[in-house]
């Protein structure tokens, strides 16, 4: 996923960012990449970690209601 054209990090969902991160860690752990590439991977890994943490911090349950087969934001009556 991260190999060819890595997506910009700030548009990744948590799942995408985390999957990307896992790939990078696996690549780094294998130790088969050249130093230069490893440094790049490491930096992306750090940015992905930050992205994931932010997404967790900001996460807000999104609730929609199905009305006549279309979705509308659901106002909760507390």
């Amino acid at each position: 996923m991260a190999k060819n054209e890595p997506k910009p990090i700030d548009v990744l969902t948590y799942e995408e960012a985390f999957a990307d991160l896992e790939t990078i860690v696996a690549a780094l752990e294998s130790g088969e990449r050249p130093l230069e590439e490893s440094m790049t991977l490491f930096e992306r890994g750090q940015a992905l970690t930050k992205r994931c943490a932010e997404l967790l911090d900001k996460a807000e349950l999104k609730v929609q209601a199905l009305v006549d087969e279309s979705l509308v934001d659901f106002e909760e009556s507390q």
Binding site: Y14, E15, F18, L21, E22, I24, V25, L28, E29, G31, L35, S38, F42, G45, Q46, T49, C52, A53, L55, L56, A59, E60, L61, K62, V63, Q64, A65, L66, V67, E69, S70, L71, F74, E76, S77, Q78
Partner: protein, 406 residues
């Protein structure tokens, strides 16, 4: 009459003994233990102890009843005077007042008994159809992204589920398919909500839920059509209907049954945001560690290169080369000798061939070579009268003069 008492053989009891005996009689009678008694509530009292006292009566008789606090807490409805109910319990005697009474352990509104029979009948039918088979049950995703909810828009059940999901997995996206959950229209509305939810949003999991209520309130969840819709749902279904003690047919058909709506929301989020955080921390450590390991490896590589450099240093090379030269020269000598032999043999061959071609060889056969001024005379035109010639024969030479040009 008084005298007779002296000879009277009738058994004698104390009140306590008699009461205890009666109590034992009642408690030993299986027809009076674990029974349902039907009647109307009157004289209901709920003192601060939490126990409930009432009289159950019909047109012909009355029965004192008590429901202890612990059982009273499980009631799904509020008993009131005039309510027709069935009370389950065992007969006993309260010795202090000599009062026989029903020690009740649960109450239900009259009519539920018939519903329960219908429930059992339908359950057997659907079970025979295989709708409740364990093999049909699909796994619940550990970390669903899209969660569908089928319940009433206004019920506390929805709030409970949303609160639970918000606390455990705020990354999730929830789609509510609002539907009535009780009443005549509820079964078909529930079926439609389930189908729409599957078709429109294709959720990873669906929560089918309703808060607690009487058996009549929950009855829509025993509807055969809903049971089929649950088994036909593309997304796995978790039910959370009523309280822990309530089992509906939708529960049996579901891929997973939760005791309550909030428990259903918990079962749908077995991986929580806390788990994600922890995993993220761990992977962050691994990431940092992998970089450390990378540098360590590079360092080791460098050390390896250094010792390699020492190994291939010029000094060592010189020694090696010297040895090689020795070796080569030893092998070289032998080869040289061989080469000389070859050359000698070749030379001999050349000599033989040269000999064969030499004009001197012709002299052996009796011919002579005539030269004039060291040039071979091959034609008569080359000589004149009086020329000095030199004649060469096989074994020597001599001079001659031309006399007469023939």
């Amino acid at each position: 009459m008084e005298q007779l008492a002296l000879f009277d053989a009738s058994p004698r009891w104390t009140v306590t003994e008699l009461t205890r005996h009666l109590r034992q009689l009642l408690e030993a009678d299986p027809d009076l233990q674990g029974i349902w008694v039907q009647g109307e509530i009157s004289n209901l009292s709920k003192p601060s102890s939490g126990h409930i006292y009432f009289t159950l009566k019909d047109s012909g008789a009355a029965l004192r009843c008590v429901l202890w606090k612990t059982e009273a807490a499980h009631l799904r409805f509020a008993p009131q005077d005039g309510m027709a109910i069935e009370a389950h319990g065992s007969l006993g005697i309260y010795e202090v007042s000599g009062q026989y009474q029903l020690y009740a352990d649960s109450l239900r509104p009259l009519g539920e008994g018939a519903l329960y029979q219908e429930f059992l009948r339908l359950k057997a039918v659907l079970e025979a159809e295989g709708l409740f088979d364990m093999a049909r049950k699909r796994p619940i995703p550990a970390s669903p992204r899209r969660i569908g909810i089928v319940t009433s828009q206004t019920g506390a059940a929805l709030q409970d589920m949303l609160n639970t999901l918000r606390r455990r997995m705020p990354l999730a996206e929830v789609t509510l398919a609002p539907t009535p959950v009780q009443g005549a229209e509820a079964p078909l509305a529930l079926v439609a909500a389930l189908r729409n939810l599957n078709r429109v949003t294709a959720p990873d999991v669906i929560l089918l839920a309703r808060g607690g209520g009487s058996i009549e309130d929950l009855w829509a969840f025993n509807d055969e059509r809903l049971v089929h819709a649950v088994t036909e749902s593309q997304a796995p279904v978790i039910t959370g209907v009523g309280h822990e003690t309530d089992f509906t047919l939708a529960d049996f058909a579901a891929d997973l049954r939760a005791p309550t709506p909030s428990a259903a929301a918990e079962l749908a989020t077995s991986i929580t945001v806390l788990d994600l955080r922890q995993t993220l921390n761990e992977i962050e450590q691994i990431l940092a560690g992998s970089m450390g390991a990378l540098f360590e490896r590079q360092h080791n590589l460098l050390e390896g290169f250094q010792s390699g450099l020492r190994f291939y240093s010029p000094l060592r090379r010189v020694q090696t080369e010297r040895q090689r030269v020795d070796e080569l020269s030893r092998r070289g000598n032998a080869m040289q000798a061989h080469r000389l032999e070859l050359a000698a043999a070749q030379l001999k061959g050349f000599q033989n061939r040269l000999t064969a071609l030499s004009p001197l060889a012709v002299l052996q056969r009796g011919y002579a070579v005539v030269t004039k001024n060291k040039r071979v005379v091959a034609s008569k035109s080359q000589v004149q009268d009086g020329d000095a010639l030199r004649i060469r024969l096989r074994d020597g030479e001599f001079d001659a003069h031309v006399s007469g040009d023939g």
